[in-house]
């Protein structure tokens, strides 16, 4: 496996009669794109808006954010298992429209702990500063579902539409010469290769069974993860469409964009290239629904890290809400017991801002903890100059927002490693 990313920088979006990259301006034929997405009868209509970096604009609630990418000919499929057959991702060349994203809106917030505005795309002001998404151009996809299409059917349609739009845009540059290319140095659990360097693995949860996956909810190669055991993935499989986010993310969120640009995998790659460590591979795991399920998953994940990857060290992340901390901690504890050193990244669960409420586990060997903040960061925000939402009611709600919490801004808090907001003890 040897993925090459061919970057085509985008610095402006423009409505046009055809979709093509003119210099660094992406011309988009939205009628053509709308026609493509409306092939799915779940939609009554779809509207598009362009948003520029730092623009006085708020859009939401965000369903997903995707980087436009398309595979070159004779490479692996685009988003295998969802848009194509579930063959191994990460092969060959992927064309990337860098500096932009396709952002799909929800018709209403998914509910749960984030309040009625859900997570928003905030493009300017102090709340936007902490998010990588405010630096991008966005093609905002605003769906209107056909009558009777709600729940999982609507979610599936929005998921597929976002990915299709992303591939469609990048397809326009598939025969252009890229501005820049990057080929990842091989990662291999096999040969020692790099004597003296610690062998480091990544263990990432991709789903939490706090809720049952919808039957056709694509997460891993189009599969909804039900019945799945932890599985070895090459890092390029994460970066190249093998994994997308679940419909619900909670506590910090996760977006497909940050699987494609996975902050932990790219950081491990960077250090692998720099000769600081030996990146030996990754394990995708899930958080269990009960103790039996949890033990089974944690032991299987730890065994893969120990026996298949032969790692000296592992970094672990969780997905979803509070309970997945237990799976994260138990997996790390098993690794530590096997002599594999770990660091773990957890969500901010301390609502009373006390250290005693900050962790959902207490294993003394888990003493390397990255703690994402978020629960007490709020900004007073002026009315947004431009509001983009799927319905007038939600638009009104977003326009009226005077205070935004860190948990409500996509990218400010994040479970994939992108956040720069941490909690400090005082």
């Amino acid at each position: 496996m040897n993925l090459t990313l061919a970057y085509h920088p985008v610095e402006a979006l423009r409505f046009d009669a055809s979709t093509r990259l003119d210099g660094t301006t992406l011309d988009i034929d939205v009628d053509d794109l709308r026609g493509l997405l409306l092939e799915d009868e779940a939609f009554e209509d779809i509207a598009f808006e362009f948003v520029a970096p730092d623009e006085d604009c708020r859009a939401g609630p965000v369903f997903d954010i995707i980087e436009p990418r398309a595979k070159a000919a004779s490479s692996s499929p685009d988003f295998p298992g969802i848009l194509g057959p579930p063959l191994t991702a990460g092969m060959g060349t992927t064309h990337v429209l860098s500096g932009m994203a396709v952002t799909v809106l929800d018709e209403h917030a998914a509910g749960g702990s984030r309040g009625s505005i859900g997570r928003v795309l905030e493009m300017t002001g102090p709340a936007a500063e902490g998010s990588c998404y405010s630096k991008l151009h966005h093609l905002v996809v605003i769906p209107r579902m056909a009558p009777g299409r709600d729940g999982p059917a609507a979610q599936r349609a929005k998921r597929v539409a976002g990915l299709k739009a992303a591939v469609h845009l990048a397809r326009a540059v598939a025969s252009d010469a890229p501005g820049e290319s990057r080929t990842f140095e091989p990662v291999d659990p096999g040969p020692p290769g790099r004597p003296g360097l610690p062998r480091v693995a990544y263990v990432g949860q991709i789903f939490s069974r706090q809720r049952r996956a919808e039957l056709d909810e694509p997460v891993l190669y189009g599969h909804n993860t039900t019945g799945m055991l932890p599985v070895l993935l090459h890092p390029d499989e994460w970066l190249d469409g093998g994994v997308v986010t679940s419909y619900y993310t909670s506590m910090g969120g996760a977006e497909t964009y940050l699987y494609q640009n996975h902050p932990i995998i790219t950081e491990l790659y960077r250090r692998h290239h720099a000769g600081e460590l030996n990146f030996v591979g990754t394990v995708a795991s899930i958080a269990g629904s009960d103790n039996t399920d949890r033990d089974r998953n944690c032991h299987a994940a730890a065994a893969l890290v120990q026996w298949a990857l032969k790692a000296d060290a592992a970094v672990l992340t969780k997905y979803g809400g509070g309970v997945p901390h237990a799976d994260l901690a138990e997996t790390a504890r098993l690794l530590e017991t096997a002599g594999i050193r770990t660091s773990v990244m957890v969500s901010d669960v301390s609502r009373d801002r006390r250290v005693e409420s900050a962790l959902l586990f207490n294993f003394p060997e888990l003493n390397a903890i990255v703690y994402g903040g978020g629960n007490d960061t709020r900004w007073q925000v002026p009315p947004a100059g431009r509001v983009i939402a799927a319905t007038p009611a939600v638009g009104e709600l977003l326009a009226g927002v005077r205070e935004l919490g860190a948990m409500n801004v996509a990218g400010v808090t994040n479970q994939q490693g992108a956040s720069r907001l941490r909690a400090v003890v005082y």
């Binding site: 207490n362 390397a368 903040g373 007490d376 909690a423």
Partner: protein, 346 residues
């Protein structure tokens, strides 16, 4: 800036342990460490009053002392209250902590003290106060007073106070958010590399440790016991009459089951946002197993089922909250003469 300073009998110059019983005395101007404090602050700050009290008197008459000190501080129109430094003097530390807390909360005037980390005053008051880390040794007086003055200046001016390692105070056990240069991914990899290479690293959250809860004595004869069902799975009667929050619940409820042999889904709802409630909604007995327990009651295997079950929602709830909920429930359990409780969670 007008400062009122509290000292014990020793630092206040009255005498040693033999004077530990002396009552509160009021002295105009600065005494002992107060002079150093004044010097450190420089122009524009004065210790207008020094309050001196013996250590034994202070701990034995704490309420009375607190009221008197509050009165003095109010009367002196103070901008700042300073107590100590107390180093490792335990009674002094406890008094200084209590007085600083009272001045801060009752009068809204910033207060600073200093103690050795193991001073019993620290555990009692660390969360609410900025307590400068004084070490044990009074030879470090100058340095300690310097830190107290630096911190006090910021508090009096309403400026942001830095972290313990920056300002020299003892960790309060609280957390706050801060934006940092490195992403969590970079920090995560930094940390594991340091750990695997046996280099020093700083965890962002200390590992918590809790006192183990002692296992209670078993029920002598369960066939004669009164049994209660308690859940944190958020099962509540339709309409959620006590408005138990689905997350970080501050309330619990007691719900009548005296006439029921099992629980019907249509009578209940689930106020809990952290698990898939569909199975419980379909049959609440799967969370609060009244059906099985009634069977055991009929067979004589258990004595009696209490006529109510207790319920709250155990999602994302801070310990400060759950401690209170637990205590209130335990009081109810005792009041009802219950012998055994079955706790079910999700």
């Amino acid at each position: 800036m007008r400062i009122v300073h509290y000292l014990n009998q020793f630092f206040g110059g009255i005498g040693g342990e033999e004077q530990a019983g002396s009552p509160l005395q009021e002295v105009e101007g600065a005494v002992g460490p107060g002079r150093l404090l004044e010097q450190t602050f420089g122009e524009g700050a004065a210790v207008v009053k020094t309050l001196v009290c013996g250590d034994n008197h202070a701990v034995e008459h704490q309420e009375e002392l607190t009221a008197a000190v509050l009165e003095h501080v109010r009367g002196a129109e103070a901008d700042l209250f300073v107590a100590g430094p107390c180093f490792d003097a335990g009674r002094y530390g406890m008094a200084a902590g209590a007085l600083c807390s009272a001045v801060q909360t009752e009068l809204g005037i910033p207060a600073v003290t200093a103690m050795h980390e193991e001073n019993p005053g620290v555990d009692l008051h660390r969360e609410g106060l900025y307590i400068v880390n004084s070490g044990k040794n009074a030879a470090r007086m100058k340095e300690v007073v310097g830190r107290m003055a630096g911190l006090a200046r910021k508090l009096a001016a309403g400026e942001a106070v830095g972290l313990p390692e920056e300002e020299g105070y003892l960790t309060r056990g609280l957390i706050r958010d801060r934006f940092v240069g490195k992403s969590s991914a970079e920090r995560l990899v930094d940390m594991v590399l340091a750990k695997v290479q046996e280099q020093p690293f700083d965890t962002e959250m200390p590992v918590t440790s809790f006192q183990p809860v002692a296992k209670p004595r078993g029920v002598d004869d369960i066939s004669k016991a009164k049994v209660m069902l308690i859940t944190d799975g958020g099962l509540v009667p339709k309409g959620n009459p006590d408005n138990i929050e689905g997350m970080a619940a501050t309330r619990w409820g007691a719900y009548d089951i005296s006439g029921d042999d099992d629980l019907a889904g249509e009578d209940y709802e689930i106020s809990h946002g952290g698990y898939d409630p569909r199975f419980v909604q379909a049959d609440p007995d799967r969370l609060v197993p009244l059906d099985a327990l009634r069977q055991l009651e009929k067979e004589g295997a258990v004595g009696e089922i209490h006529g109510e079950f207790l319920s709250t929602s155990g999602l994302s709830n801070p310990l400060s909250n759950t401690r209170r909920l637990g205590r209130e429930m335990a009081e109810k359990v005792k009041r009802e003469g219950v012998d055994a409780v079955i706790l079910t969670s999700t």
